[in-house]
């Protein structure tokens, strides 16, 4: 889904919670669009990996949420909004290997504690706004280099 306002492209995705079969669908769709735009493969890689991690996080921890992606000729901005439990200690969550994922989720091969560290690693800017008990808003920015 998209609207055509201004000079940018805007896409909106709904991420269902606790549905691992569909996890990654939004980041996969965004990747396809970026490929059609003919962007630098490294830019595509950065955005699709960090968005995938964010999308999976929403499914595992927050019962799903929404993703808004804006693309203009300078950057790609993805805003991931959820109404889940929030992150108690963001600094701790940013550490590689640290996770609150359940045993069941880990059994599915997720929850290795690399989500946020990978998002940090692959994005040019990562902003986390979180309120315990209310939800989390994660903004991922990847600059377009050609």
């Amino acid at each position: 889904m998209s609207d055509m306002s201004g000079n940018s492209l805007h896409y909106h995705y709904i991420v269902p919670g606790d549905d691992f079969t569909q996890a990654g669908a939004a980041s996969s769709a965004v990747k396809q669009i970026l490929k059609q735009l003919g962007l630098n493969p490294q830019t595509i890689r950065k955005m699709s990996i960090s968005l995938y991690e964010g999308e999976i996080n929403m499914v595992i921890h927050a019962g799903g949420g929404e993703i808004d992606v804006d693309i203009d000729d300078k950057k790609i901005v993805a805003v991931l909004t959820d109404y889940g439990p929030g992150i108690e200690d963001v600094d701790l969550a940013m550490q590689a290997g640290w996770s609150t994922a359940s045993e069941q989720v880990r059994g599915l091969g997720f929850g290795a504690g690399m989500g946020l560290p990978n998002m940090k690693k692959y994005s040019d800017e990562l902003i986390i706004n979180t309120t315990v008990g209310a939800g989390t808003k994660v903004t991922i920015v990847v600059n377009i280099e050609n």
Partner: protein
């Protein structure tokens, strides 16, 4: 040869314009236009899915007739490993080898023998630790072309070695006298394209591609005669390692790595490449990918059911040594290495200029939002999204959508009905005052 030669082609008379192939093409390369299927050469990877699914047998693979070997004075044939799974009642490799000689070939060079050298070279390269992991097999030309089009970033993980067919042809060429013709017996159209339009080298050493289905009956009758008369001494050239390349997983197992993955069938291959692109398979050392189900035994030009053929090959392998071919000396022979770069193909991007692409993408989204999202295929494109792309690229119009057309007709009908016509008397008489 033109840049986009393809083995897969259309028999226009047989095509009924249904959308079976359009829907199944993994690269969305087919459209039905003017009642006939059209293949976009730039996007086609010659995987043969359309040949497999066409209910009217309108999709063909261009190959060479068996008689074409007569052009050459000295004839070499390259049977692929999968050929040995095609026939019943085979005790060893020699029966097929003898039958091929009986058909007029002067020399039989097993592709499986070359595969063993490629396996050896792969192990050496992986030991050197200079390759990007996970290493992706380069043997299936349909997969390699798919990577060039859809996953160009993964080209840096592709094993820079020639496919066993090419290596076999080069080695046979090195030993051959002049006026030699080298014929590959091909299980798939992708190999034919790889001969006419090679990747990793400028020119293929293979001269002809004869399909398994073409040679099958002649070879069967030659095998029957050879079985009666006896086949003479065993001259088989390959062991279990090389023969196992005919099945999915054979090449990967021969790398002797612990962490490897083998996927077969084009949809599965695409899923694995998506995972790799997302950096989610970084714990693997080697990834073997075959476009056909079960591997080369599943090639669309084969006769036998792929799983029956795979079982037969397993029995045949039991009587063979582990391997019969190894690289002598330290260096990997140049016959095995790529001698030309394999480059990305930009068939997916809308326009070379990103600004133009952005504008086109906005138009695509706008058109797509007007379409019904049924993906019915009646317009000849695989999905509403694909139709929107075609319209923006100038290949189609909104009228191709029967639902939009119906809305248009309905609007015309409604406006016709709402017309209040002035009931002027046509007799010409002046109205009475």
């Amino acid at each position: 040869m033109s840049e986009y030669f393809h083995s897969v082609t259309l028999d226009k008379d047989a095509c009924r314009g249904c959308i079976t192939c359009v829907k199944r093409c993994p690269t969305e390369a087919i459209r039905v236009r003017n009642g006939k299927a059209q293949i976009t050469g730039e996007r086609c990877i010659d995987c043969g899915e359309c040949i497999r699914v066409c209910p009217h047998h309108a999709k063909l693979a261009v190959t060479d007739p068996l008689s074409s070997i007569e052009r050459f004075k000295y004839k070499v044939v390259l049977p692929p490993p999968s050929l040995f799974g095609q026939y019943k009642r085979q005790e060893d490799l020699e029966l097929i080898r003898a039958a091929l000689r009986r058909l007029g070939f002067d020399e039989v060079y097993e592709v499986a023998a070359a595969a063993e050298l490629v396996s050896d070279a792969t192990r050496r390269l992986m030991e050197q630790g200079t390759l990007n992991k996970p290493v992706i097999s380069s043997a299936c030309p349909a997969v390699l072309r798919l990577i060039r089009i859809r996953f160009p970033q993964l080209l840096e993980n592709v094993l820079p070695l020639s496919a066993p067919m090419e290596v076999a042809a080069r080695l046979a060429r090195d030993q051959a006298v002049s006026e030699t013709g080298i014929a590959f017996i091909t299980p798939c159209p992708a190999k034919v394209t790889a001969i006419k339009n090679p990747m990793g080298t400028e020119k293929s050493s293979v001269d002809l591609a004869i399909s398994v289905s073409e040679i099958y009956p002649a070879l069967l009758s030659a095998m029957n005669k050879c079985a009666k008369e006896g086949t003479g001494p065993d001259t088989a050239q390959s062991g279990r390692t090389g023969l196992s390349w005919g099945n999915s997983g054979g090449e990967a197992a021969a790398t002797f790595t612990v962490r490897y993955l083998a996927a077969d069938g084009i949809e599965n291959v695409i899923n694995v490449l998506e995972e790799m692109e997302g950096d989610r398979l970084s714990d693997q050392d080697f990834v073997e990918l075959n476009a056909c189900p079960a591997g080369c035994v599943g090639g669309v030009l084969n006769i036998e059911n792929p799983y029956v053929a795979a079982t037969r090959m397993k029995h045949l392998r039991n009587y063979r040594p582990v391997a019969c071919n190894n690289i002598e000396g330290k260096a990997i022979p140049e016959e095995i290495l790529w001698d030309a770069e394999v480059k990305p193909i930009s068939a997916l991007r809308l326009d070379p200029l990103p600004q133009h692409s952005m504008k086109m993408m906005r138009e695509i989204e706008e058109i797509e939002s007007k379409l019904y999202g049924l993906d019915c295929g009646s317009c000849g494109a695989p999905s509403c999204r694909a139709l929107a792309e075609d319209i923006v690229l100038g290949h189609s119009t909104e009228d191709a959508c029967i639902y939009l057309l119906k809305d248009k007709v309905e609007a015309v009908r409604a406006s016709m009905l709402s017309l209040k016509l002035d009931s002027r008397d046509k007799s010409g008489d002046k109205p009475c005052v």
